[in-house]
């Protein structure tokens, strides 16, 4: 298996160990710093954290397991609507709603995975697209449940643990989302380094050989897809709970495309790629859109093309370049 897992994953491990502990705290310290200094931009920060979680979920399916999808927003939207409907009809406890939405989305992901994961490549891409389109149409038509075109207004959440109220300035929301992201990123970190994660690496690189050495390829893929869906569902649920609204846009192809772009922009399979890509995309889009509601596409478009042309592995590639400069030319390359 270690041979099939390939050189990339194994070579990355010592780098991770070497820089370990201190550097891994950096993103979280930055996130807390943002909390202190963001002021009016705190809700943008919350949105960025949610998109990081969404991108991280896609990295598990696409980066690790090689499941090419153009419809990941199906799970984001599913989680958002599940949390919104749960809060409206059953209970407005945020944690309970989050867990319920996450579990339901995970189960939905497993169901979809069973249906479509025997295919690969462009066919799989089209199938994920078709499923997200069907779900969007269902949300559009089930007006009584989802509010259809008008979107779903979600009531105010109950205080977190009965103690912390969701204030208008979004302080509680930010820390709540940050905590959820932290928990999921620990899980994702663990998955990436587990034998299960390694077998996903192998499946991505050569499914036939993995099958030949006895890996239950299809079952592994379904589990990975379900986990990824659950993670995306959490992201959607957080969006619904913190913005207190769910719209059809959450299920759209554009949402699927955007998260894909965020992840590739940051760099797939590098863990922090999702962090970097989602943050940069959200921030650049916000600032560019303030300048001109249409020309932000120009700035983002140029940025995407430049990343492909000049960086080997997304924005994370910048970190590699910086690392090489710091360690000098003699440091062991990849």
């Amino acid at each position: 298996m270690s041979e099939a897992a390939g050189n990339k994953g194994l070579a990355a491990a010592p780098i991770g160990l070497r820089l370990a502990s201190v550097l891994h705290l950096l993103p979280w310290a930055l996130a807390l710093l943002v909390y202190v200094v963001a002021g009016g931009y705190l809700s943008l920060g919350t949105h960025a954290l949610i998109m990081i979680l969404f991108a991280l979920s896609l990295d598990l399916a696409l980066g690790q397991a090689g499941i090419i999808t153009l419809g990941h927003a199906a799970f984001f939207g599913f989680g958002a609507y599940a949390a919104g409907i749960f809060a409206t009809h059953l209970s407005n406890d945020p944690l309970l709603g989050l867990v319920v939405a996450t579990v339901l989305t995970g189960l939905f992901g497993v169901f979809v995975g069973i249906l479509i994961l025997h295919t690969a490549g462009v066919t799989l891409m089209m199938l994920t697209l078709a499923i997200s389109a069907l779900l969007a149409e269902f949300a559009n038509q089930a007006h009584g449940l989802t509010g259809g075109d008008d979107g779903l207004q979600v009531g105010r959440m109950a205080p977190l643990f009965g103690l912390f109220r969701f204030d208008l300035r979004g302080h509680t929301s930010y820390l709540y989302v940050l905590a959820a992201l932290f928990v999921w990123s620990l899980v994702a970190w663990r998955i990436m380094r587990s034998p299960f994660g390694r077998s996903l690496d192998g499946i991505r690189q050569n499914p036939r050989r993995m099958r030949a050495i006895g890996t239950p390829v299809w079952r592994r893929l379904v589990v990975a897809y379900g986990l990824s869906a659950a993670m995306a569902g959490t992201a959607g649920a957080l969006e619904a709970q913190t913005t207190r609204a769910v719209g059809l846009g959450a299920l759209s192809v554009l949402a699927s495309g955007t998260v894909l772009v965020m992840l590739i922009l940051g760099g797939t399979r590098r863990y922090y790629g999702a962090f970097l890509g989602a943050t940069v995309y959200v921030v650049v889009q916000d600032f560019a859109a303030q300048i001109d509601p249409f020309r932000w596409m120009f700035i983002i478009g140029i940025m995407l093309m430049a990343v492909v042309l000049f960086l080997e592995n997304g924005l994370v590639g910048l970190v590699d370049v910086a690392g090489r400069a710091l360690h000098g030319p003699r440091s062991p390359g990849r």
Partner: protein, 287 residues
């Protein structure tokens, strides 16, 4: 006789889908590039045509000149943007072409504004003709006719000409094709330009069915991808059949069961792809 008109409407819509998508099946089948910018080339053609019409050119001339210009744009883009991509992974290709689409959208909205642009159908096509049992819009019959003629020409070109033989060889095995002396690079550029020109042409003549607007390139991209995926990547006949079938299903669904139209379209895509994962006509096994 309602059914026949719906069928004809569906076929007309399918023809437009085919004309625009046929270039995409080449890029994705021959060059193995995830090309998310195909709609952008179609859209450039549409906006160029509005300019040419404004300058006083007749409709057909505008469509053809716009297609030719987009063909040149396509050739330049193939050399400048796509060629560095061949060696990169499909994710880098997706990112690059998506970025290119964004840039095109921003540039076109800067130049032409953000409203919906109409391409007025010429008076010779705006009437109706008697087709025996009832009258039918000339414009849609024209679409069907143009689609059929183009499909026939493409079939002759691909199945019967030496260019087509070389193209099919390159689709099946690019390395072997270049080993026997086919200039695969040149073939790529020419074919890519042709596909872009066709997309632009389809965009112009189909503008009454698929209105030209700033997000055209993204909005209809999904449709083009679906046609290519359902038809079988790299298979022209498959794209033709898929485009017509999806055109009929979509139009029929909208007329007969408006509530379930989107279900019907994507449900059909889902079922077709689950039953035939490699499309209606898989390119590889047919070859």
């Amino acid at each position: 006789m309602l059914d026949i008109t719906i069928l004809l409407d569906g076929v007309a819509y399918g023809m437009v889908l085919f004309i625009i998508s046929v270039g995409l099946t080449v890029t994705m089948g021959l060059m193995r590039i995830v090309n998310l910018a195909h709609g952008a080339f179609a859209m450039i053609g549409g906006y160029l045509a509005t300019m040419l019409l404004g300058a006083g050119l007749p409709f057909f001339a505008a469509a053809i000149v716009a297609a030719a210009l987009v063909g040149i744009v396509g050739a330049v883009a193939e050399l400048a943007i796509y060629r560095p991509l061949y060696r990169k992974g499909e994710l880098a290709q997706a990112l690059m072409t998506f970025g290119f689409t964004f840039v095109v959208i921003a540039a076109l909205t800067t130049a032409f504004g953000t409203g919906i642009r109409t391409l007025p159908v010429p008076p010779t096509l705006s009437g109706v003709v008697d087709i025996g049992f009832r009258t039918y819009p000339t414009y849609r019959l024209f679409l069907v006719a143009v689609g059929l003629v183009l499909a026939l020409l493409l079939w002759l070109l691909i199945d019967r000409s030496s260019y087509g033989a070389r193209l099919r060889a390159a689709v099946d095995n690019p390395r072997m094709a270049s080993a026997v002396g086919i200039d695969v690079n040149l073939l790529f550029t020419v074919t890519f330009a042709g596909g872009c020109a066709l997309a632009a042409f389809g965009c112009v003549i189909g503008a009454a069915l698929m209105p030209l607007e700033p997000y055209y390139a993204l909005r209809y991209l999904v449709l083009f991808l679906v046609v290519v995926g359902v038809g079988g990547i790299g298979n022209f006949k498959g794209s033709f059949v898929a485009a017509i079938a999806l055109g009929i299903i979509d139009t029929g669904g909208k007329f007969l069961v408006p509530q379930a139209a989107a279900y019907m379209f994507y449900g059909a895509v889902l079922i077709l792809l689950l039953l035939r994962p490699h499309g209606l006509m898989p390119a590889k096994s047919a070859a």
